[in-house]
């Protein structure tokens, strides 16, 4: 099936936020961000900025008619700074002018005075000082205290991983204008139209029905537009309301990088205990999540870290604590994987360290501890349809792991300046929003009287192909030419109270809602066909644009049936509501059944390291992944490839640096590097594990957005193994990303 989105993208005819044709008298906003990471505001002089030609108005917290509160989960974040600033780049004012150029010029003339306070950027220090965003949480299973005694080996260590900038190619943006009856129309580049609507209503002090949010598509998001598209959208709405003019904001890349949060850096202490047969008996870790200056999505991200802290392993005694630490950095936020990658990095580091001390390959420990059916996760859910062992067996069957290991050992014995390294990375990722109440969606389906179909859901298209998957679901359900199906923009007036398009759940939730709506319509169409043919609706089937009766084609076409249904005054519109069954979670006990199902997979990553220069290539990524019954193998392959390389980037190249004053040193694409075409692995092969697929997944096609990201973690350990081969006297540490600098320093450490 052709992807109409992709065709339009290839000709440059798809409109993104900044491409929307502007209305006459449109004004442009530039945000003035705090130059201080922590301080009390003692003076704010807007006069020179106000005198700049073209400036219409400068907004601060004093201009807010409603509440200066944009916190999504907890109310600890303001739209504009109050008396204190808590991170560099924190919005203090919005300059609105007749051009972005003039607004920027004016913003430079704003003078702010602050009494400087000491910024804290280290989460461990923040914890020590009692700066927590929310109370800490612990997941427990078994009894680690007694289990340590039963272990033959107990290994302790530390594992840290860094932040990651989303670097969606389209920066944050929004365009708002006054509509009739005191309404505001907001075009927002957001994954969460309802969140934008809810927060805009709160800030503007209007009911939600006065705010309409529309999203056509996003130029990439990866979680970065789940919560953090909101402040930009709400600012345009505020200015549009108070000026009664259209107002647009498109963040410059620098402002976007400085003002918005990243993937959370985590610091962790771990302890792992094994018996002599390499079974992990006990695992405990304390993690320090660097949350930044406000909660944003940190509480939910912390929760997913807890859920994934044992990855694809069964460990009978576990105790995992996460402290969500408040620091003077931009509020860190959702990013593909949503806390799971950080949790998995810690358990993989613990296994790698244990393997190192026991002088065995980490694979031996990984393999000995894979989760099996009926094992219990530390959060109480019983594991069913566990496919990790099958994925590993298939990986070994197809790619011959032993052979790969021998080839690498042989290469390393023959080369001085080049070394290779290899690692195995299993994944187990739970599908559902961990907050049970968010697992629902609606779809609104119109069949027009000419037989074309318009579908609105809560899903936002951001490159993940959800529109194509929904169109496939509809075309399959009605058995019509996919060209008849159009997926509409995501709009809060057509589909209300939506959950964000996030947690890899977009296709599952919205697709299932679409199935419910579609099936209701099919019932009605069959009724009409039965009346037309004088038979029982149960004898009717819709197949390839035709009505079939008892398996035989009739002369009633799809178009004729639709037309007749319309003439008989039967509704051709339906709304479907879906809520994921079974799931629940009891936070007071930290136990429940939070996930509809899990996604499994295993990957082998091999690297080639240039030991003279400390630079490296990712040679091979070999994967066996559990797709279920993939609805669209092309889309799913793209998600695998994109996810893997983003994960490798996080582990090896992408480094967000702040100085001790909380100033970001990597606020441009010339200092923050993401993988380019030459960084992509030479070989990336992904095989599908043949499985039936779980019921709650859309047509048994498992969620795909986030899980592959975590294969990239293997790159860290593969690289580490290559370094060890060159420099056996180096004691491995676990401090991602492993950049060329860190690699070279470790190659020659102690030499």
């Amino acid at each position: 099936m052709n992807n109409p989105e992709a065709i339009n993208h290839s000709t440059g005819s798809s409109n993104y936020l900044d491409d929307i044709p502007v209305l006459k008298n449109t004004l442009y906003g530039v945000i003035f961000g705090s130059p201080s990471a922590h301080g009390k505001i003692t003076g704010l002089d807007l006069s020179a900025a106000m005198d700049t030609p073209g400036v219409h108005r400068i907004f601060t917290r004093r201009d807010i008619p409603g509440k200066n509160d944009i916190g999504g989960i907890i109310s600890d974040e303001t739209l504009f700074a109050e008396d204190e600033v808590h991170y560099r780049g924190q919005p203090v004012a919005l300059v609105v002018a007749d051009s972005e150029h003039n607004a920027r010029k004016a913003a430079r003339l704003i003078r702010i005075e602050t009494d400087e306070l000491e910024p804290v950027t280290d989460p461990r220090l923040a914890k020590e000082m009692g700066h927590l965003l929310i109370p800490s949480r612990t997941f427990r299973m078994g009894n680690v205290t007694t289990a340590w005694q039963e272990c033959d080996y107990v290994i302790e260590g530390r594992a840290d991983c860094g932040a990651q900038e989303h670097l969606y190619l389209e920066t944050q943006g929004a365009y708002s204008y006054p509509a009739d009856n005191g309404s505001i129309m907001i075009h927002s580049s957001t994954q969460s139209p309802t969140l934008v609507q809810r927060i805009a209503a709160k800030v503007l002090a209007v009911p939600m029905n006065r705010i309409e949010v529309d999203v056509a598509r996003l130029g990439g998001a990866f979680g970065g537009k789940e919560d953090q598209a909101t402040f930009v959208a709400v600012m345009t709405a505020l200015a549009a309301l108070l000026l009664q003019k259209p107002v647009k904001i498109t963040l410059s890349r620098g402002d976007d990088m400085r003002m918005t949060g990243k993937r959370h850096p985590y610091n962790a202490d771990f302890r792992i205990g094994l018996t002599s047969d390499y079974r992990i008996k006990a695992f405990s870790t304390v993690m320090y999540q660097n949350g930044g200056a406000a909660a944003d999505l940190s509480p939910a991200i912390m929760e997913r870290t807890l859920f994934h802290s044992t990855n694809a392993y069964f460990i009978p005694n576990t105790e995992v604590t996460v402290h969500s630490c408040r620091t003077n950095l931009p509020p860190n936020t959702a990013f593909r994987g949503f806390g799971a990658p950080q949790g998995m990095f810690v358990i993989e580091a613990a296994i790698a360290k244990a393997a190192d001390e026991l002088k065995i390959p980490a694979r031996i420990i990984q393999q000995a501890n894979f989760l099996r059916d009926n094992d219990v996760f530390p959060y109480g859910q019983v594991a069913r349809d566990v496919n990790i062992g099958k994925c590993f067996a298939e990986l070994d069957r197809v790619f011959n792991i032993g052979q790969l290991e021998r080839e690498i050992a042989d290469f390393n014995s023959r080369n001085t300046l080049y070394r290779k390294g290899m690692a195995l990375m299993p994944i187990c990722f739970g599908i559902s929003f961990t907050n049970t109440s968010m697992n629902h969606a609606r779809a609104l389906v119109h069949i027009y009287q000419d037989g074309s179909i318009g579908i609105s859901t809560g899903a936002v298209e951001m490159g993940q192909g959800v529109n194509l998957k929904l169109a496939q679901v509809a075309a399959g359900l009605f058995s019509v030419d996919p060209a008849r199906v159009k997926i509409e923009t995501t709009n809060t007036r057509r589909v209300a109270n939506t959950s964000p398009t996030a947690a890899s759940t977009g296709a599952d939730l919205n697709g299932n809602a679409l199935l419910i709506a579609g099936n209701k319509l099919i019932e009605r169409l069959k009724d009409v066909a039965g009346q037309m043919l004088g038979c029982n609706p149960g004898d009717i089937a819709l197949h390839e644009e035709k009505v079939f009766r008892n398996g035989a084609p009739t002369d009633i076409t799809w178009e004729k049936l639709v037309r007749e249904t319309f003439l008989r005054r039967v509704s051709l519109t339906e709304n479907g509501h879906y809520a994921t069954p079974v799931i629940f979670f009891d936070k007071s006990k930290e136990k429940g059944h939070p996930f509809a199902y899990h996604v499994y997979g295993t990957a082998i990553i091999t690297v080639l390291l240039d030991c003279l220069r400390g630079i490296y290539n990712i040679e091979k990524v070999l994967i066996v992944h559990d797709f279920g019954n993939s609805l669209n193998p092309d889309i799913d392959r793209g998600q695998i490839e994109g996810g893997v390389i983003q994960g490798i980037g996080w582990m090896t190249m992408e480094e967000v640096l702040f100085n001790s004053r909380g100033r970001m040193l990597t606020d441009s694409l010339s200092t923050y590097k993401v993988p380019d075409i030459y960084s992509a692995p030479e070989i990336l092969e992904c095989r599908a594990l043949e499985t039936e697929g779980p019921g709650p997944a859309i047509l048994k096609s498992k969620a795909i957005g986030e899980p592959p990201f975590m294969y990239g973690i293997g790159a860290y350990f593969a690289l580490q193994n290559a370094i060890r081969s060159f420099n056996p006297s180096w004691k491995p540490d676990y401090d991602a990303p492993l950049t060329p600098e860190k690699v070279l320093m470790r190659l020659y450490n102690n030499k």
Binding site: D18, Y168, R217, F726, T739, E741
Partner: protein
């Protein structure tokens, strides 16, 4: 007035010549297929084609519209994604769609334009050249494997390309709209740009100043140096190679003259920026930018180059290494510019090596870079010019290290001793490109890499104690 052809339309505009072509395309002309990604030449989302009339044909090169001052568009054919559409998908667009090389689509127009530039070039299009053409395009969604598959398909579709007249071949095969064939004649009728020396700040390729001074330039007229005939060309005169100031990095990489002297020049050039940036950035621009880490400057320092000034003052010629007075401080007056760069030349391979390590191998600024040029007399080093970037406030000519090596035989021991001299000469600082400690170690490694490359048989690795 700046006059050029934008797609199929003759445009004359009085907008400031220092304002960006990107803003003009998107916000004045409403052609929103060209995207804004970073405004610093690091993402490629704004890639367009710039066609220059060369004889009776138009030579198209990929160009970053965010970095191109409007003045540099004068007399050219600027092509955006809207200007290549024919009503059906081209092979390039098909290859992108069919191979799943498009996800969010925001980077797609830039990638398509990079590939169109490759297809319109006078070289054979291979999968490798197609990939190289897109190396300046960042895609955050696909992981590039699908773009590589698209490159294979494109190479296949371009197998029959007539490299003698690629644009005509593309038009005849319905890969470009027919109006392309009318462009040479239409460009020929555009008169030159009238500007005076004092009408503003001098800009050549714009790849640095358009990033640093974007807001100021958006309101300013500039003096364009990029297309001045007297600043172009690479020639050999009296045993010296003379490179015009406005020769682009791409032109240098393609120069047969330079290839004779430094056969690996094109592979070195590939480590510098990206194809569209190399099409815009000039040799002199890299020098006057005065970055302590300019790649071209480091290469020229090791060639012991001299610079000759132009401008309203008397022309001077001075060694390149004497041009740098301090961090971003040059011995160059406001009314002076660099006219040309020259160095001793012979039409046979020199013992020359360039090394660069950055966080990302391509399209990145070096953590440390270094070049070495050695002349041997029998077994002894008769002359050694060694340079290094990223280890001092200026692009550094390692005079003492070079002097130490001169007169000595090549051996691992000598290289080890040279390290000691080198460490005294450099003064790296810790910054976003690495710690001082790393840069010291890295330069040591790169000097060893020079010797391993040039004298593989003379360096015994076991004595170097890696």
């Amino acid at each position: 007035m700046v006059t050029f052809i934008l797609n199929n339309e003759l445009i004359s505009t009085g907008k400031p010549t220092g304002s960006s072509l990107l803003d003009f395309i998107r916000y004045d002309m409403g052609l929103t297929g060209t995207k804004t990604g970073c405004r610093e030449g690091d993402c490629g989302a704004c890639t367009v084609l710039a066609g220059s009339l060369t004889g009776s044909t138009v030579v198209y090169r990929s160009t970053l519209s965010c970095l191109m001052p409007l003045g540099n568009a004068h007399g050219k054919h600027i092509v955006t994604i809207e200007g290549i559409n024919t009503g059906h998908l081209s092979h390039i667009q098909h290859a992108m769609v069919d191979n799943g090389a498009i996800q969010c689509g925001f980077c797609t127009p830039g990638i398509v334009m990079s590939l169109v530039a490759e297809s319109a070039s006078a070289r054979t299009t291979t999968a490798e050249s197609a990939i190289a053409a897109t190396a300046g395009n960042i895609c955050r969604c696909t992981g590039y494997k699908s773009i590589r598959r698209a490159a294979d398909a494109i190479a296949d579709a371009m197998r029959e390309k007539d490299t003698a007249d690629p644009v005509r071949w593309l038009v005849e095969n319905k890969q470009l709209p027919e109006y392309f064939l009318t462009i040479p004649e239409r460009l020929a009728s555009i008169p030159g740009l009238t500007e005076t020396e004092d009408s503003g700040i001098m800009i050549a390729g714009g790849t640095d100043l358009m990033v640093r001074n974007a807001d100021e330039l958006a309101e300013s007229d500039i003096v364009t140096l990029y297309d001045r005939k007297e600043l172009k060309g690479i020639r050999v005169e009296g045993g010296r190679c003379i490179i015009g100031a406005s020769v682009t990095i791409s032109e240098a990489g393609e120069s047969e003259t330079l290839k004779k002297y430094i056969p690996e020049i094109s592979s070195y050039i590939r480590l510098i920026a990206s194809e569209p940036v190399r099409n815009m950035a000039t040799i002199a621009g890299n020098i006057v930018n005065a970055s302590p880490i300019g790649d071209i400057t480091i290469i020229l320092l090791a060639l012991n180059a001299e610079v000759t000034t132009g401008g309203s003052r008397d022309s001077r010629t001075l060694p390149l290494r004497e041009l740098f007075l301090g961090y971003k401080k040059l011995d160059l007056a406001a009314e002076e510019y660099i006219r040309c760069i020259s160095f001793t030349y012979q039409p046979e391979p020199a013992l020359f090596s360039f090394e660069k390590v950055s966080r990302r191998t391509h399209l990145d600024i070096a953590s440390v870079n270094s070049a070495m040029h050695v002349v041997m007399n029998g077994d002894l080093i008769a002359g050694c010019h060694l340079s290094a970037g990223g280890v001092s406030p200026v692009p550094l000519y390692l005079e003492k290290t070079g002097a130490f090596l001169t007169g000595r035989p090549v051996s691992a021991e000598i290289v080890l001793q040279a390290y000691e001299v080198m460490q005294q000469e450099i003064s790296p600082i810790s910054d976003a490109r690495g710690s001082a400690e790393y840069k010291r170690l890295l330069l040591r490694q790169l000097i060893l890499a020079h010797f391993l490359k040039l004298f593989p048989e003379k360096i015994n690795l076991s004595t170097v104690q890696l």
